[in-house]
Symmetry: C2
Subunit: 357 residues, 2 copies
């Protein structure tokens, strides 16, 4: 099929840290994006708001957005709990009437909305609910530990610290080096970018690890390295179950720990100042101990997100993380990702040695 051209809806929540899906689609699929709908910042460019994205326009109505010539409208923000604001329904119906498909990663499936389903049918358009899980997921049984490629999972100190972005950058760089590397998407945004995957946070709880297992088995075909997109954090009060199911189901041989350098508290709990993010060494201990309870694994690098720091400060943060942990540390989006690419490539060589021994 012809690749879609997206108008991204990020109304009321378009910013460098909140509109994760919108931002990632713009970063990784810039040629497939025609604009962003956000009434609050209409008239500005995406570059003005995000610091990247160039002259892509921000519009204030669906009518203006449709004038940009999209073939699909993509929901670009993920409200807590994943439910769609009711006021967007009319916009989406308008888009369907105008001949656009809909792409959504919300927990509430657009295809289950009678109005939107009928509009899609009447107009011959498609609704892609990327969080809708497959019907036949297995209970994980450890099959992921048997695959030949090196499996690397990103783990984090919190949600939304760059676990997917790091893997996408590293996938690109490893392939440029001739290491056949596949990215495995485990969340809505990764699925939008990669074109396949399962949103592991949307499956029935018993099947989290089973979904991860299936993804690794699929990703392992014709690959030397499989880079699995991580989710949540092992100490996140709301999402840790997804994190652990993914860790145990994917049986990673190595982990890359992701952290936003300026963040002090676990995301959604900031106001209560309840959960201060402990030192990176504490996360390394937790992830290695709990991960290795099922399949031996270790942290081999630190991926920092420094988007809100100056250049010098960001470099110092990477150096500090490296000193603190004794591991390669960089911001793979902002700086040269080579330290992490090297770490994975070396680990892959050791892994091949173990496999053939």
């Amino acid at each position: 099929m012809t690749p879609p051209r997206f108008l991204i809806v990020a109304d009321g929540d378009f910013s460098p840290m909140t509109s994760k899906t919108a931002n990632s689609v713009i970063r990784f699929l810039p040629d497939r994006t025609v604009g962003v709908l956000d009434r609050a910042q209409a008239g500005e460019t995406v570059q003005d708001v995000l610091g990247f994205g160039g002259a892509l326009p921000i519009v204030g109505s669906m009518r203006e957005g449709l004038a940009l010539g999209p073939t699909a409208v993509l929901i670009g923000i993920a409200p807590q709990g994943g439910r769609m604001p009711q006021e967007w329904r009319a916009w989406l119906a308008e888009a369907l009437d105008h001949g656009c498909d809909l792409w959504s990663g919300l927990h509430t499936f657009l295809g289950d909305d009678p109005l939107l389903a009928e509009k899609a049918r009447a107009n011959g358009r498609k609704i892609f609910d990327l969080r809708r899980p497959p019907a036949d997921l297995p209970i994980a049984s450890g099959l992921a530990k048997t695959v030949d490629p090196l499996v690397v999972l990103t783990v984090g100190t919190d949600c939304n610290v760059g676990k997917m972005t790091a893997q996408l950058q590293l996938t690109r760089k490893l392939n440029e080096r001739g290491v056949r590397t596949r990215f495995v998407a485990t969340g809505q945004t990764g699925i939008m970018i990669e074109g396949w995957g399962i949103a592991v946070d949307a499956v029935v709880a018993d099947f989290i690890a089973g979904a991860a297992e299936r993804l690794v088995l699929e990703g392992a075909k014709d690959a030397d390295v499989v880079l699995v997109e991580g989710q949540g954090s092992i100490n996140h009060p709301g999402y840790s179950g997804v994190t652990l199911g993914l860790l145990h189901g994917s049986c990673p041989d190595a982990l890359i720990l992701c952290h936003q350098a300026t963040r002090e508290y676990i995301g959604d709990y900031r106001q209560a100042a309840w959960l201060r993010i402990p030192p990176l060494a504490e996360y390394i201990r937790l992830y290695e101990m709990i991960g290795s309870a099922v399949h031996p694994t270790k942290v081999i690098g630190i991926s920092l997100n420094t988007y809100d720091m100056g250049d010098a400060e960001a470099r110092r943060a990477c150096e500090a993380a490296g000193r603190e942990t004794g591991l390669p540390a960089t911001d793979p989006v902002r700086f040269d990702p080579a330290p992490l690419v090297d770490a994975i490539a070396s680990e892959r060589t050791r892994h091949q040695g173990r496999r053939s021994a």
Copy 2:
């Protein structure tokens, strides 16, 4: 409503360790059970098979079962993945035509089966799908740590080691001592016995902890102690995500570690001899470390399941577990549960002291 009288379907899988739901309903609701349907052991008594349950009959057909006068047919086995064998459909349709309700904790909802739904409607009967989650669950936000009662969660070395049974026994004993104690059901069987709860393994993955949080807030009303039914195990390759979401969402002040004394390997992975169950001390370290990452908690006792041991051997196993961990240890079903009841009562006193300090 009049309490139901159950005919329990456990066809092909009725035994002391496999038919967990059937066995627990028989143990805790003996006066509401009329018999068990299992073609392989028809003609024997429940006592013959389980070692408890007395003269309750095992029958070989739905017709014989309905002749025992049930008002409801209860699905008593939980096949891996929770899906119903197709051959049972005709039996359940027959039961509905005979005027029975259906109770099920399977992942596949009986009420979504067109034949059964239509039979239920036509006969004015009800289908209770106990694993169907509420529609409006929250993302957990740590509210469970704010409740006044002492919250105690059972955690395990594997699935099906007695986490629910221990809590039901301890709830009974604590209430007999005048400590107002509420049992919080987190699985299908607990819900059947207690009459309310949420099957946390059946909710969408993002909401595991949110379901646990809601249950603890409800259970905390008019209680001094809340005993939460645990699920799975922190190192179970298939179900650990559910275990951790429940641990972080319920914010327990104390944990009771449950173990089947003779078990050497994590349940479903026995054939591969992949995951040997590590020493109890290792579980204590894992659960305390990962639990306390969100809310301070500690293991205060060991609950052993010794159903398959002789009396002397069982007593030695309890003593050994106590020596190994330095904690009160007993089989609360087989022996006097006082060591664990005392441990909870003492912890509650300390907890009250901390709350009023």
